[in-house]
Symmetry: D2
Subunit: 345 residues, 4 copies
Amino acid sequence: MKAIVYHGPGKIEWEDKPKPMLLEDTDAIIKITHTTICGTDLHILKGDVPEVSDGRILGHEGVGIIEEVGTAVRRFKPGDHMLISCITSCGSCSYCKKGMYSHCENGGWILGHLIDGTQAEYVRIPFADNSLYPIPHHMDEEALVMLSDILPTGYECGVLNGEVKPGDHVVIVGAGPVGLAALLTAKFYSPGLLMVIDTDENRLEVAKQFGADYGIDSKQVNPIEIVKGLTEGKGADVVIEAVGIPATFELCQSLVAPGGIIANIGVHGKPAYLHLETLWSHNIKITTRLVDTITIPLLFKTVQSGKLLPQQLITHHFALNDALYAYRIFGHAAQEKALKVILTA
Amino acid sequence: MKAIVYHGPGKIEWEDKPKPMLLEDTDAIIKITHTTICGTDLHILKGDVPEVSDGRILGHEGVGIIEEVGTAVRRFKPGDHMLISCITSCGSCSYCKKGMYSHCENGGWILGHLIDGTQAEYVRIPFADNSLYPIPHHMDEEALVMLSDILPTGYECGVLNGEVKPGDHVVIVGAGPVGLAALLTAKFYSPGLLMVIDTDENRLEVAKQFGADYGIDSKQVNPIEIVKGLTEGKGADVVIEAVGIPATFELCQSLVAPGGIIANIGVHGKPAYLHLETLWSHNIKITTRLVDTITIPLLFKTVQSGKLLPQQLITHHFALNDALYAYRIFGHAAQEKALKVILTA
Amino acid sequence: MKAIVYHGPGKIEWEDKPKPMLLEDTDAIIKITHTTICGTDLHILKGDVPEVSDGRILGHEGVGIIEEVGTAVRRFKPGDHMLISCITSCGSCSYCKKGMYSHCENGGWILGHLIDGTQAEYVRIPFADNSLYPIPHHMDEEALVMLSDILPTGYECGVLNGEVKPGDHVVIVGAGPVGLAALLTAKFYSPGLLMVIDTDENRLEVAKQFGADYGIDSKQVNPIEIVKGLTEGKGADVVIEAVGIPATFELCQSLVAPGGIIANIGVHGKPAYLHLETLWSHNIKITTRLVDTITIPLLFKTVQSGKLLPQQLITHHFALNDALYAYRIFGHAAQEKALKVILTA
Amino acid sequence: MKAIVYHGPGKIEWEDKPKPMLLEDTDAIIKITHTTICGTDLHILKGDVPEVSDGRILGHEGVGIIEEVGTAVRRFKPGDHMLISCITSCGSCSYCKKGMYSHCENGGWILGHLIDGTQAEYVRIPFADNSLYPIPHHMDEEALVMLSDILPTGYECGVLNGEVKPGDHVVIVGAGPVGLAALLTAKFYSPGLLMVIDTDENRLEVAKQFGADYGIDSKQVNPIEIVKGLTEGKGADVVIEAVGIPATFELCQSLVAPGGIIANIGVHGKPAYLHLETLWSHNIKITTRLVDTITIPLLFKTVQSGKLLPQQLITHHFALNDALYAYRIFGHAAQEKALKVILTA
């Protein structure tokens, strides 16, 4: 079969690889119908994720059809249409039992990282009963690719950890795909004010189309002043960090109201200052989280009821065998006005 | 001044009463601008609430303008426009400190019950700093009368106690004003399915206009079958009882899914059977609550952000001095297609 | 092998049965070392649980050693010492993913009920990776039998659902084994006042030895008066029902303070009155629950740290092949001053 | 009257000041019977809290007897014995209504800071109905001084924010008075392992006497290795920071398990590094909090039931008019083996 294969920093190829086979009784082999590229894949490509070894097939998102299942897979059978979680969970270790699949002792984020991934014609999914989700009839399967990673990430790490409530004043710092995923799912709770901060005009425009009350261009204005002005000087109840650099994390600390929460989604590469000299007495909470994808069933229901339109995040479509080209486009996401791209087999 | 005065079962008059005066340093005198009639007022009129004595001015909802404040009132001053909570709270007893104002040792539901109420030209409000809420400029004051009682009641007793979450299957039993208030505020959380059960076709129609996915006429169909059919046989995650009779409470027990919640809003006059012989192992929760009105500030924010339109509940308008006529109309609410009536001074 | 076999109401035998074999890849066969008899087994014996068919081996509690595992069992191997949960969980259905193992679509309470149980020399445990718990070295294995069912039941259904907090006033109605299990685990939270109501003097005495502040004999005194007297007239913050008849459930309704919780543990055979005519405005919560055994790992830690002494519940010891005699003793538990009995192979 | 008066960095005097008078209807004047000195008072003395002006009477803890109340004080009367909260709360601002008294718009921490404090023969307490707590008969009033600040601080900022649960592995970094207050109140929840880290042998000894399972001297051993060794390599579920310097806050980040919480109590003067480059994916929570003293009623109940012995924290006794000498001793707390000192009028 064909797949996107990593060959060290800066090098990926669309090349032939052996079709995956069942290795464990709990495995399933999926024929990919739709997949996508994640910001994390670009990090891998840059060489920022050294555990990814030469020869690894990338990708941790996608939907597909079961080709074959191991003897211990009870819930699904060949022909079933499935959503693939970016997080593999065994379902029985102490972390899985607490719903913290991200830290599964036998899984976690391994697809396209420690084992071969989804940017391929076929993929092997360990612990299929726990790591796959059946797709109800008549749903838009392409759009559901957004439920593999980006929407649960925005929702769990940003909105749930941020404890967004009706009437809350919410700021999202960063209007990239994950910040927008947080925006779409924050709307589940009818916040009073949804403010988005970015430096890219186009993305701020998209944020407003997606329901932000204010798009704040931090190149043009002082975002602290604007947020304070919109919140009677108090700051925001919930601040969602969706960039991942020290400067934006420090900005978040200036935006949060006493009693508020900073929910970190961003993937950070460096330490940042925490201003405990002021925050120690501000009664705040800061959270970090690698997505558990425990909310995929809930997100399915919100899609079915029309409360969430995952297709809003999709800007570009490619054939799976144009994956290299798709990487090029997605690598210049801001310039190409790309949010998420779909690769269809 | 003129007021609606109770004179025993079946008898109310619009008559002269002395204008109220400050009795405690913490009191305020409010000039009523808008008030309404509650289902509870009809219960009082029937003689169902024996603590209401002859001569009592009725009414526990309304907005108005401060005329005078006691020396210990710090937060508000004459001329301020205020929303009156139906629950009076001292702010310092053990119940108030827990946010359970309904059981305030020095207040609770006393307006139009144990002390004179709001269906009058003026009313005395004890513990003004805690029992009144300032109305921001440019808000529709008439609509805010819905925040005195009915919307916090539907929200706190039904939706918050019911723990409605995105994607949840929610049934509301009873499409009267308080059931509809629960419906409007359940929508804050993007439930997956909102089902309303009633026997009044018009009210079911209104429920659908207000956002119910299904209106179920229990005179025409078996509501248990319908709800099970809509929920893969499981029943609803959240069942809100908004009638207050044994039959509907028993119906709720047949509608709730394992792991679900029955949130009782209805005012009950009789015991009901609880089917512990089946429910003991169903992992359910049943809640009761007299409204605390602790969510009034949150509801203000949802009105300001356009997420809640309280005016949707208002069907009839009268002059305050037509209050007796308004009682007649509201006394035949179903027939008159009345939800809430507004009396304007 | 030998086992306790049910042959219809009133009839059990200690008789030969075929040794169980692996049926699924996820099964384990356990050689029982210690088991016990549950109040539920007596109910089955009376014929109250009609789903139990003639020929069924009873018992749903125990510890033992793995004899054999299916090919898909990854976490454990022959020779490992294991605690058996009374609840079998597949780990991947929607209920298991919510931690509600009691309603597992492929398990739940099936041992000694719908499949053969633990009062035998060997037992087959489905979904071994999820339904068994490894016993750390140097623990008292006999005492751990109390973690199969009774301690998680008292803890989850009584104490966790009752939301016991430091300083709380707690009443437990019923000082049988499960009431005492609730008592032992309520102490985890340093309640202010632990009151136990029963009609058996000996059990009340045991309750006091186990840490109850008051043992209230409801044959001698009016428990409502006593509890009100001990709680400034308010009633208890948490009321745990551990009997399972209408009279005690109604008593609980008279004991609960405004804002309090009634946590039902009792297995009920009949409906009971719920006094909504008074409780509708008391802001209370009533919970029911079939144990999920989700807290077994937590309970292990409390045993290891010496905070919980499960052996306190064990009053009688028998050889496994004296199981019939043990049933006779346990069948007259009050008279024999029996709490839990241990059957050792 | 006599009082401890601040006269700029390094200068305090025991000198004559006018006896305080009622300024507002909601004030009370308290005759101090017992007070104490807080670590914060030493910070003030060093000049670290510039808002404290020359002439200010210090002290924010104490018990006493009401001498006089304003006309709007309803709950208490002259002669009543009261505990003084270190936090003054109006009870009606938006923060007080959320239970966040520390940020009361009309109070907060003002005693011995922005208004005159309790290290005096008399003190004026604003919002007496909300800021004082009645002392039940027969309680040890001297010991209750520990409920003014230090025990609620350890409990709210450390234990409640840290969400300590039965069986949890808990580390407290810092065995000074506030760390020990966290230790005493962490025990309410029966943690599985209580580890305390400090560099002072005596304080570690005290921690063990107070119930710590392990006292870890970070001058002698590597605390990270020790904690990892005691927790199967995972780290602690709850890490409580009770020092307030960058080094200890960074240590906490190395001690916390995935899914764990760092609850900050320490008063910080500088920013610290937050190692987001590793923690971003560890699913942790970090909290900060200025004590709200909202748990004073709960702590009263734990003292009454014998679960908490506040006198354990008291090491030294002085007459109130020896306050200057007491400051000298407390200023060398480690050397004098002092935890909390009591000054008695």
